[in-house]
Subunit: 393 residues, 4 copies
């Protein structure tokens, strides 16, 4: 099909050319001298992106699901109880990962569209006087719903309840798109991956572990080998990996982290906030609802759009891909057929946001939805003009 594809799913996004080119560089020896410069340069940049000084960053050849598994098997022993909150498919998935790895998951299921409130966390932990929960699992940005949770408030709930559980946070679709503060928020293990805000294709699971998490690892008895932090940390210290790293992906990550830090994280966040604002303005102009329960928790990374009865979101996705070369995210779980998701993350500009909205409008119109062509585009244009991109320093 002629022209450029618009990959507006909730990650991965379109890869910046500089990152693609970096991944095309000839392979180097992952046990050689030159490799060391690559890896030793990479970790400090990732620490900046996690906003941590005390954390330890670990990179696995894996998807984000692998990062989840690693966060659990390194810190817990078989049968350990964990408290988890389901607010969408991915927070539920983290809990399922814990269950499948042999932990006793106490799962609090909330309606899709909710975020996890400080009050709820406090209540659950307060009730656990015996400290059976060894960890609290939560999600920074729920990719299935487009809801961001206030992790600082979750940490506050732990503190208030004086509960010693580890705080494990999935920031897979949050990191490097919306603000994340590993140290300031007292996170114990943050899980991320390459294919979201980090501007890369999938293939790398990335974690950040606190000193408390590292200490927990020493006594954690879960069987582990591939996702064990121990050999990683000792080999990483010298600039190497215990088994063959995905070198081309590390090349890309090196370039992508340069792009992000050169732009400046706060600018990256402001840019995402602006794109999200433009998209949500368009959704409202269409007369549709954003799923997130209230504006404060709307994600700046993805927007879940509720469709009126009679418009099938699965049909919308097929049509937008085949007729308009536009990939959107499906409504998942209870939202199947009823909602779709627009990814507005990564290296995108105003015109790409507007093209996406224009494509959604045409596909909706084609499906018979009552929609005024151009209405969302116009609303977003106005919003963008009224709120120009902040300048970089």
């Amino acid at each position: 099909m002629p022209g450029r594809h618009f990959l507006q799913i909730p990650g991965p996004a379109n890869i910046p050319d500089r990152v693609t080119q970096a991944m095309s560089r000839p392979l180097m020896n992952h046990r050689g001298i030159a490799f060391k410069d690559l890896s030793l340069g990479l970790f400090p940049k990732l620490k900046k992106i996690f906003k941590t000084e005390r954390g330890t960053v670990i990179i696995f050849p894996s998807s984000g699901t692998g990062a989840w598994e690693s966060s659990l098997v390194n810190t817990l022993s078989p049968g350990d109880a964990v408290l988890a909150f389901s607010i969408g498919e991915f927070s539920a998935g983290y809990a399922r990962c814990a269950k499948n790895n042999g932990f006793a998951v106490d799962l609090v299921e909330l309606p899709w569209g909710s975020s996890v409130s400080e009050a709820l966390v406090y209540e659950k932990l307060k009730a656990d006087a015996g400290h059976k929960y060894k960890a609290v699992l939560t999600i920074h940005n729920e990719t299935a719903t487009g809801v961001a949770t206030d992790i600082a408030a979750v940490r506050e709930a732990l503190n208030k309840a004086k509960h010693p559980a580890l705080l494990l946070v999935d920031t897979i679709s949050g990191l490097a798109s919306i603000d994340f503060r590993f140290d300031a928020w007292g996170v114990d293990v943050a899980t991320a991956c390459s294919q979201k805000g980090l501007l890369m294709p999938a293939g790398l699971g990335i974690l950040c572990a606190s000193e408390k998490a590292l200490k927990a690892r020493e006594s954690a008895k879960s069987p582990r080998h591939y996702f064990d932090w121990g050999p990683m940390m000792s080999r990483n210290a010298e600039g190497y990996f215990p088994y063959t790293p995905a070198t081309t992906l590390l090349y890309g990550l090196d370039e992508a982290t340069d792009l992000l830090l050169d732009e400046g994280l706060e600018h990256v966040f402001a840019r995402h906030a602006r794109m999200a604002d433009g998209v949500r303005t368009a959704v409202r102009a269409w007369g549709f609802k954003v799923l997130a329960e209230r504006p404060e928790v709307e994600s700046n990374v993805i927007t879940t759009v509720m469709l009126p009865p009679g418009v099938d979101s699965d049909a919308l996705l097929v049509l937008s891909e085949t007729e308009f070369d536009l990939s959107l995210g499906a409504g998942l779980g209870p939202l199947k057929g009823k909602a779709f998701r627009i990814g507005h993350l990564g290296h995108m500009n105003d015109l790409e946001v507007l093209a996406t909205l224009a494509g959604v409008e045409m596909a909706l119109s084609r499906l018979g939805a009552k929609i005024s062509l151009g209405a969302g585009v116009a609303a977003c244009q106005k919003r963008f003009l009224d709120h120009p991109m902040p300048k970089k320093n």
Copy 2:
């Protein structure tokens, strides 16, 4: 700047990824055995694109200006008279190229926005009873104005006037975007280049010469070396070039011609017609004028948009590039500051057209033009929905 650039100038357009990749292949020996397959495969495909069986295709490492020069020095002798029509900067440029190469140019200057009519050509040739004109220079698609000339009609004028002059046609921005028929239209030399409908960056000047043109070359006394067809034809026959060819560009051209012929030329033309239609519909929705004197001569490759007084098109270009990552074409010559040009050629899809229009709207709005945001986008969306892309066979 994050995101993808929109290169909506009147050529070059965005390069398809497959073409970029082809140009990245390792160099081969241009005197080796493998090279022969590349070049011998290329010429027949270019002949299909020129719609010729009797023509000879020649490729130079040069821009389109080099193709002009080559069309002249191979067919004319110093001081020969040529008849040329100026309807914009590029038709005027072809004439200037002839003048600088030592030919006696009789230049008919028409207002920008005009096409060259059969009647006018007939009149000029009829008046040349002594057949002093050795060639008629004309342009298929004037890139400065967005006007297409009916070359079949021009040929008809030559026939009617029974004039033996060679018909030299610049189809630099026409070929492979709008229909061009070398044989059917009795063209003697067609000049083209890589960076327009052929989906490539600049660097190759491409010509097609008729048997009559080849015969003219035998007696043409203009000094020539670099752009001489003779050594090209004899070496090309064996699959080689008389001097080092631009191999990476030939790789790209090989891939690009595959893309075009796989899509089918008629589909390529229909796609361009549809994109142009969408853009012109938007321009009308904005309340602006397209420069072309009448709808029949509007180009399907580029559209020149006249701006209302008080809106400076040069300022528009600066703003669209710097704020919206959108490159547009300037108003040239008499249109400087008063008009701008939108390129809608090459490998583009609906969403890219709409993004371009959305960007133009925002930039115009920023400059204070009276424009209803989204109006052009909506008009184009409707047009696109009402006229879906024809299916490929």
Copy 3:
């Protein structure tokens, strides 16, 4: 450093340009329609490469170590006994992976340079009348020593001993370089990865599982989530993956498997045999020893060269990398400093083999080794001339 690097480690090898280009293609939606074609096309090709009709191929975003882990946790229950043979670092690693995942490993340690004999396997299994061993772990090509084990013979030993244990085979550095026959050899789980004979960078762990292994999975109680075959198989059946796949690596694998199958597996094996023969001929011409205990078990993928006393192989690696842009493999474990490894796998030609040998000679000479410059090169040249590459069909 000017010029091309020679990456002659025991994998990954230099990536073919076509594969690099494939990995640079724009990302597609891994939940979209187009993706299905990619993945559904890939599995049948991998089955051809494993030489299986009855096996099920599964691909993880991971290194080969992940494939090991997956082979174990899907087929075994906590505490299960397995029989393993250590003949080098990687066979020992597979056993360690089993131990760390909570299985009772009975490890038979053989000298480095050995292969695993049918007799030994038979003896161990015969002694296990109670069938406590649930699996036998072995390695097709030991990357640390350059020794190939006769897997057909190992299977024969199981058969002869009438032992029901699963046969788990690491063919990480064997597959697609030397002959591997999943069906014919009765393998239950074969583990492989992208960065060896499959011509790719690291990032994909690849397994093939027999019906018996799939059946074992149903009762295997090991906790598993990331490396679980279940969700993979059900989603793969429709052309998708349960979590985000490493799409760019799948693009590359798609191209690489085309390259291999277009060349023909038997030709690939013959080419590797010839390269290995050339290298070993050179080693003998230098007067050095190949580690493998006897010629029949010498690997066609890598050669471990024993250095004479006084020549430090670690120094050799530093020197060859920094002065001659040549990466070689280190002597591992007991061979540290005493041996080095030459990788001769993947897309290599005669001149690259000879350049490698020339580089080794210069580096050895620089280190004061008694070596006649050019002697190994000459021996290899002669061998290559006497044994030209077999023609492809």
Copy 4:
């Protein structure tokens, strides 16, 4: 064919990956704001490479032959007499280019293998008391023979003869491989191109013109348009080009000039000298002759090797390409079938030189030449070890 091609022709050479990647960057608007930075950054770097402060650099989309033509039509008037020296196909070609462009060429033909001596130039110019010669055409490095001419000495001859002719020097295969000093040697027009020492594929003709040459242009009456310096200089001054530039090639040239200047020109020259020395040492070890008439004029860019009777160099080229993936240069003109050329220029390392020599040895052996396999390789290895690469500053 598996493995990497060895492109050891006398240019183009293998393109460095960084340059290939630069050429793959998305196109920018050649009339836009960002373009200016690219072009204004390029010219000063090229001036450093020409070693000029007073010269003006001009870049055409063309091959080197176009640069020849440009050097002539800008400085001469129709019928002007020029003195030229033929010492091989390319110096003869420059003269032929002058003849075809309408100048009166006085051609001194010397045996292939000769350089142009100061004495000869002096003699010819001294005899031209009436100063009919408006220009002296000479070649810095004759690509057909591998002979370098002492341009400083040629300038000295002009000075001594007090002859006002312009000194036009073809440094197409010399620039950026062997020392060239535009200012110090009093060159008036130097012609170069992208595909030799400048590390690029073909497609750009590059010239450097002295103030005297620019002054000559003002009165030079040759018809010219495409290759005219006037519009180039006026547009270049603002960072633009009069017609569409070959932007992707400019991207590459920008990167390639960075590579060269970062390495340091003197190091580049030393590296070429060392590679050439290694190759010539091998040729002598084979018992063959280098064509150049004496060691002082041997080129450090290419070596022409004379074959003994009975060994056909054309057969050698076919065999080396088809069997060993090695491209060599043919014997041209009188040397057809009797000699072949090895290119040793650009981004090459020791192992690539040795692989080339090893390939030549095998191909020669296959053709029945009396040659001791490995002999040339060994001689070159020894030479390389005895003369390690000088360190960069």
